[in-house]
């Protein structure tokens, strides 16, 4: 396995070796964003902050799909549980900001662990259905548990604090706070994926039977991964509740679950960073689709279908898609010019292709 990692790293194409330039551009655009938009009070909360928390939650879904091969529809619910944790601590118990945030993250992560205990033994469509069902169970609970969630009225107001050295009520400060969290979450996901734990997860994704034969406890690894993804989703839930200043059953509804799935698919179901592009597309559609049609949700659906048809790996996968087309053209040209009938053996199916084509274990 180590040999393979080495081989991959040394055989990187030129553009891949300089991909950090792309990241500098992305982060540069994100940092400059508050200073170039004409109405920061609209653009920062409605587009910037919302895209970031949607992206963080969707990143947790992508982490599970990319490294474990599990498509979870419980991530919005876990983020919602974290949001309810913050709301309950702040509104019902009157606790301070840091305690409330810790409560939310612990609540969401524990909820993820419990989901994992139930769902980790299943795979593919069964895992998807169980996570969806658990999400709907919590939605029903949140809609009616008046003592805990205040039923449909929800918990409000949840105020952002002025910490003295930093005032999160200032929208620009809050935006940078959330941007920093998003970057940290991304780096954490990449770090975990590169650890021996992450490598084992990738092995389990590709062949759980082989990994079990090697002595790995597959279900424990899956539970660990689902719990870690829940931790990431919980951070997204904390940002969500601070942005919305309230939490109600809407945040754990089927619509919210589908929003996360749409973000992940449009951005790239196999791309940790691509989710933020997907989130940007969704927030733009939410805000501006009505300028083109009254049935704005239908337009979102059309965009979703177009992405699935023409860019199944999402926006983040367009680059690879274009590269594949160019490579194919080059091969065809060289075939006709050289006339060498010898063909290369077909390349092994990439994990991304395996995922997008449904090879879940």
């Amino acid at each position: 396995m180590t040999q393979q990692v080495d081989r991959v790293s040394t055989s990187k194409p030129l553009w891949a070796r300089y991909s950090w330039i792309g990241w500098v551009i992305v982060v540069g655009i994100a940092v400059a964003f508050p200073f170039v938009v004409d109405r920061p009070r609209f653009w920062l909360p409605n587009i910037g902050v919302r895209s970031l928390w949607l992206g963080i939650i969707a990143m947790s879904l992508v982490f599970l799909n990319r490294y474990v091969g599990l498509l979870s529809l419980a991530q919005a619910t876990i983020a919602g549980i974290s949001a309810y944790g913050v709301g309950y601590a702040m509104v019902t118990m009157g606790l301070g900001f840091f305690v409330a945030v810790a409560t939310g993250i612990v609540a969401g992560t524990v909820a993820g662990f419990l989901v994992a205990l139930i769902a980790a033994r299943t795979k593919a469509i069964y895992f998807l259905m169980i996570t969806l069902a658990l999400g709907q169970v919590f939605y029903s609970y949140a809609s009616q548990a008046i003592e805990v969630t205040n039923a449909r009225r929800g918990l409000a107001p949840i105020k952002k604090p002025d910490l003295g050295f930093v005032n999160l009520n200032d929208i620009t400060t809050f935006y940078f706070f959330v941007l920093a969290l998003a970057v940290l979450c991304y780096l954490l996901c990449r770090y975990v994926a590169a650890t021996s734990f992450g490598l084992a997860l990738q092995g389990i994704r590709d062949s759980p039977e082989r990994m079990a034969a090697l002595g790995y406890r597959v279900n424990r690894y899956r539970i660990g991964a689902i719990t870690f993804a829940a931790f990431i989703a919980s951070i997204g839930g904390v940002v969500l509740v601070l942005d919305r200043a309230q939490v109600d059953p809407d945040v754990v509804s089927l619509g919210s679950t589908l929003d996360i799935l749409v973000v992940a698919v449009i951005g790239g179901i196999g791309s940790l960073g691509g989710v933020f592009l997907g989130a940007l597309v969704l927030t733009f559609l939410d805000n501006f689709a009505q300028d083109f049609t009254d049935r704005y949700q239908s337009l979102t659906g059309v965009v979703f279908i177009i992405v699935l048809l023409f860019a199944p790996a999402g926006i983040a996968g367009i680059g690879k898609q274009v590269k594949r087309v160019i490579d194919r053209r080059r091969k065809e040209l060289s075939f006709f010019s050289v006339g060498d009938p010898q063909q290369e053996p077909p390349a092994a199916q990439s994990a991304e292709e395996a995922i997008t084509k449904g090879k879940q274990q």
Binding site: Q4, V5, V8, S9, W15, A16, S19, I21, G22, W23, I25, V26, I29, R39, F42, P45, N46, Y67, S143, Q144, I146, A151, R152, R153, A193, L199, Q202, G203, D206, R244, Q246, D248, D250, V251, S253, G255, G268, S271, G273, G274, L277, L280, V281, F284, D286, N287, F288, Q290, D291, R295, Y296, Q297, I315, A316, G317, I318, G319, K320, K323, E352
Partner: protein, 423 residues
């Protein structure tokens, strides 16, 4: 096995950035200018449902606004008041709090509206009030959202020109006890905030009049089996309160027929609407005689303002055959806003104080009775007590049997309760 560690990022970033810039280009054309008090244009942002269960809300809102604007020579897109140009901007929602938050922020921060008008649903209303607290420079006039708590949040820039869902039952409790003689009532209601307020409004009046509650069943929305609950109704109960809506109410009425229930019914404000009454031809046996309360008058309502409103409403594009609860509440609210703007002579200077003073002191005769305002910027309104009757053609109709005038808002936000509600 292939381990994942790198992606084709450079082309992806290029494509993504291009997409964002393209979308930004699209959006820039939609940005409205801010129109402060000294300007000649007053921009009103209308929030209504155009997707989801209440997708017809936008059409109903436009029909109601059309009636009010045409009366002053305008259209649903705008007009003129005291020399000031009125411009209307519409934002559709799906009835959820999240979408309402997104769209109301867009109206205020991107489109630069001076006044927000709406929303439709209670979930949206709670979210919009929270937002109103953060933008005191903008005036908010509610559309049809009816949670009690909305005008009790201390938002001095928020006005509601119709009753809340507890007020909709105003006078019905006393009517049930004294006129109908129902001494003991069993309650079946859906388990969420609207039925809490609605049932709370009824039972607070009923218990104050001397009535007793023999039991409460709070059922989840979407319950289809009411046989078990019906069998639990204690002997000696005089009537059953049905705080259900839509398909749930239709299911209950149908099963009440099957179970041979003989007790008269008291309906919540949405229990005996068209959906429920047209659900099953056999429900006449239990539906006839059902009393309910609400802001919509039934057959036999005498008010000289009513028929002209109905006539003007049915001429609007996409209007229903008769006004729905949404168009009535949106009309009364928008007409109130127009009257307020006229009284303030379109002056939005000094933090819109002239407009807010005018709105807060408004008193006028609407198609559904006199509307005046209390100190919480909540309307004091007339309420209608309705009884379901069999029409001459055999169909079921709702007849106005009584009116409760000048119903005021209480200060109780109701939660789920057992027996009589705590006030």
């Amino acid at each position: 096995m292939k381990l994942r560690n790198k992606k084709g990022w450079v082309p992806a970033v290029a494509v993504g950035t291009t997409l964002i810039l393209a979308l930004s280009g699209c959006s820039a054309g939609t940005s409205g200018g801010t129109s402060g008090g000294g300007k000649d244009t007053i921009k009103i942002g209308v929030l209504a449902t155009s997707e989801g269960n209440l997708a017809f809300g936008m059409d109903e809102a436009k029909a109601a606004i059309g009636v009010a604007m045409q009366a002053i020579g305008g259209t649903i897109d705008g007009g003129e008041i005291n020399g000031k140009k009125i411009e209307l901007v519409y934002a559709g929602t799906d009835g959820t709090s999240g979408t309402a938050q997104t769209q109301v922020k867009k109206l205020v921060e991107n489109d630069g509206v001076d006044i927000v008008f709406g929303p439709v649903s209670g979930d949206e209303g709670e979210a919009v009030v929270q937002y109103a607290l953060t933008v005191p420079e903008v005036t908010f006039v509610n559309g049809s959202a009816s949670p009690v708590a909305m005008t009790l949040q201390g938002a001095t820039n928020f006005f509601r020109f119709h009753g809340d869902s507890a007020m909709w039952m105003g006078g019905l409790g006393e009517y049930a006890y004294k006129t109908k003689g129902y001494k003991k009532i069993y309650s079946i209601a859906e388990d969420y905030s609207f039925p809490y307020d609605n049932a709370g409004g009824f039972f607070s009046g009923y218990c104050a009049a001397g009535g007793q509650v023999t039991g409460n069943s709070w059922v989840p929305v979407g319950t289809t089996d009411y046989g078990t609950i019906i069998s639990q109704i204690p002997a000696g109960t005089d009537a059953v309160y049905v705080g259900l809506g839509g398909a749930d109410a239709a299911s209950f009425l149908s099963q009440a027929v099957t179970a041979g229930i003989k007790l008269p019914l008291v309906g919540g404000s949405i229990a005996v609407d068209t959906t429920a009454l047209s659900g099953d031809a056999n429900i006449k046996a239990v539906a006839v005689g059902t009393i309910t309360g609400g802001p919509v008058p039934g057959v036999g309502y005498k008010n000289p303002m009513w028929q002209p409103f109905v006539d003007a409403y049915v001429k609007q594009p996409k209007a229903f055959p008769s006004p729905s609860i949404f168009s009535i509440l949106y009309y009364n609210s928008f007409e109130s806003l127009i009257l307020g703007l006229q009284q303030a002579k379109g002056d939005l200077s000094n933090k819109q104080s002239a407009l807010r003073d005018a709105l807060g002191g408004l008193s006028w005769d609407s198609p559904t009775g006199r509307i005046s305002m209390d100190s919480n910027r909540q309307a004091i309104v007339d309420n209608f007590l309705i009884e379901v009757q069999a029409a001459a053609d055999g169909s079921l109709e709702q007849k106005t049997v009584s009116e409760a005038t000048a119903v005021k808002q209480g200060t109780t936000v109701y939660d789920r309760f057992e027996g009589c509600p705590k006030s």
